[in-house]
Amino acid sequence: MTPNRVLVTGVSNPLGAEVARRLASQVPYLFGCDVADPVSALEEMDFVHADTRLSVIGKLVRQLHIDTVVHLAVMVDSPHDERSIHETNVIGTMNLLVGCAAPSSPVRKLVVKSSQAVYGAGPLDPSFFAEDMTNWERVASGVTRDLLEMEQLVSEYAVRNEACEVTVLRLGYRVSEDTSLARYLSLPIVPTFAGFDPRLQLLHEDDAAEAIIRSVMGAHPGVFNVAGAGVVLLSQAIAIMGGRATPILPPYGRWLSRLGLKLLAGVDLPSHLADMIAFGSVMDCSRSEGEFQWAPAFGSRQTMEALARGKQVELIEAPSPPQEYELQLYLQQRRRRERQLTSGQN
């Protein structure tokens, strides 16, 4: 089934904007929704202010006769407080699924962005996480638990609605400019956990967008790990960024270290990331590579080097000034009116 009417949630975050920009030329009708204004207006996209945490999202899906939903309003590494992250990830997804699951719903494809954070990170983990290695016993971390709950909701939906193809993408940790992981790694003096030098696996923004596009345009139902090839050690990553790793954080008492990082370095690292920089987390991406016949162009190390070169800034469109946004909206309306006029004449 080729997607016809596509809704992208969370379109205002950088990844959502990039996905919308790439989808715009490939699908006939594109709708985007988010709480905040998009960083730059897309002419081909209809933008709606809609909060996934409210049930209005279900109405939106039904009224617009959406057949493909790309759910990117999932927060993993964001400065919001834990409560609002939980609301967005779990309640937001639930509302969206309720909207998609209505009887005689036209939704035939659902792509959900999840994250490597769903596996958490711990001392007893195997070296690689395959898709079936999620661990419900790990309840400590807020985001990990939220993502597990969210994925369970999605898998229940997939079981009940066999007509709908559901793709869950567990994207690797990303280090674009606005993530706290990137801010942590680019500190001049980086406090690390004493006695730990874990393996990190990263995903480039470009590859994340590409994976989402591929799952929207193709038919790939299932759960997939997507991350760059190879690993980069934490000490290597810090050295690539030009910082200096200082092992001063105590290996035990995670919350104390997080508080110290927040007060001294000004980086508020979520608890799942604090675990990650102690124990590391690497996924086994062979399933997605086999299914998509595609592997990310950037390996973990190249992603880090791209961040060091500042290349990631160029990939995401720079935010346009407010008046330009207004101008683009005006142009969009004008073009629509013209189109209506010509179709009326025909």
Binding site: P123, L124, S127, R199, V231, Q236, A237, I240
Partner: protein, 344 residues
């Protein structure tokens, strides 16, 4: 150990040294700086002269220059490691061959001079392709694993890195976690074993686990239970031959008289040993005793006769595991007979 390169390759991959502006501020006078630069070479020269003098005087080898060169090489390699910055590759498991090989002088001298390991049958290890090495586990700390790795890396006609499997609880410990990963160890998880074998690596597994290292001195050289034979199932699935290894001597390095369970539980360790020296002498108690070691590699047990479906058959898996266990136990008894004394 160091990868072979041709001059043309070296020319292609070498980088021009960056021109760095001289640091401003206080600098020592030039003759002293020259002396500083030449000090290591002068010291080596002096040691060499002293060695020849002493040899002619006493008629015996008093200073072995080979050993001196090994120490110098170790220091030089550590400086080389520090100099490469982040410009090195690790594999997906976090293994860094150059880092691992830099520690070889230390383990080689332990292997040769301290425990005087006598090796038999190392030619049974294939020079290429996958194999699962299965050994008995003893001694409180896993020195036996280090010695098996050293044996294959120094004594084999095709030196290879052995990747040992480690209990996951050690991967959560500070310092140990990164050192084990850097030197090529992986977690003792069936998936990790499968992945390593699929990359045609040599994988070393101790099926006894901490039950083997944490047993008392009076229990020495009695093999513990070999788990549920998971290693045999993995070998059958990966079509990898099993090479049993008997290690004699590792039991005496720390004679474990008792086990303080409450302390172990408090520290999150599998056991807390009490030996004649630990914990009474503090860090000195961690020095292993210089027992005489013998390591025997047995002929490979082929898994060709087992179809891949046999991995699901617990009966056949346990038969294979028991066969391997018997081979190791018999090898231990044979080598104990060959050994003249514990410390001889």
């Amino acid at each position: 150990m160091i990868a072979e390169t041709t001059p043309a390759e070296r020319r292609r991959t070498s980088k021009k040294a960056e021109i760095v502006a001289p640091r401003q501020g206080f600098r020592l006078p030039k003759p002293i700086r020259r002396l500083q630069r030449q000090a290591p070479f002068l010291a080596l020269q002096a040691a060499g002269e002293l060695s020849t003098r002493l040899r002619t005087l006493t008629g015996r080898e008093v200073i072995d220059m080979n050993r001196v060169m090994e120490v110098a090489q170790f220091i030089y390699q550590q400086r080389e490691l520090a100099r490469r910055g982040p410009n090195y590759e690790v594999d997906d498991f976090g293994f860094d061959p150059q880092f691992t090989e830099s520690f070889l002088p230390i383990f080689k001298s332990l292997y040769r001079d301290y425990w005087r390991v006598e090796l038999a049958g190392v030619e049974h290890v294939p020079s290429s392709g996958r194999a699962l090495l299965v050994a008995n586990h003893a001694g409180v700390l896993p020195w036996d694993g280090a010695m098996i790795k050293t044996a294959v890396l120094t004594e084999h006609s095709h030196p290879r890195h052995v990747r040992a499997l480690v209990a996951s609880q050690f991967m959560g410990m500070p310092a140990l976690s990164w050192f084990l990963r850097r030197t090529g160890q992986a977690v003792g998880h069936p998936e990790d074993t499968r992945k390593l074998l699929e990359r045609d690596e040599l994988v070393l597994v101790f099926p006894e686990g901490t039950r083997g290292t944490g047993k008392g001195f009076q229990q020495r050289y009695r093999l513990r239970r070999f788990g549920r034979g998971g290693f045999a199932a993995t070998a059958i699935r990966a079509r990898a031959p099993i090479i049993p290894i008997s290690v004699v001597g590792s039991e005496e390095i720390y004679p474990m008289l008792g086990d303080l369970r409450p302390v172990a539980r408090l520290l999150g360790l599998p056991y807390f040993p009490v030996t004649p020296f630990w914990p009474w002498l503090g860090p000195l108690g961690m020095i292993p005793l210089p027992s005489k070691w013998r390591i025997q590699f047995h002929p490979p047990v082929e898994v060709e006769q087992f179809p891949p479906s046999a991995a699901e058959d617990q009966h056949r898996v346990m038969l294979l595991a028991d066969h391997v266990r018997d081979t190791i136990q018999r090898g231990i008894y044979d080598n104990l007979k060959l050994r003249r004394g514990v410390f001889l």
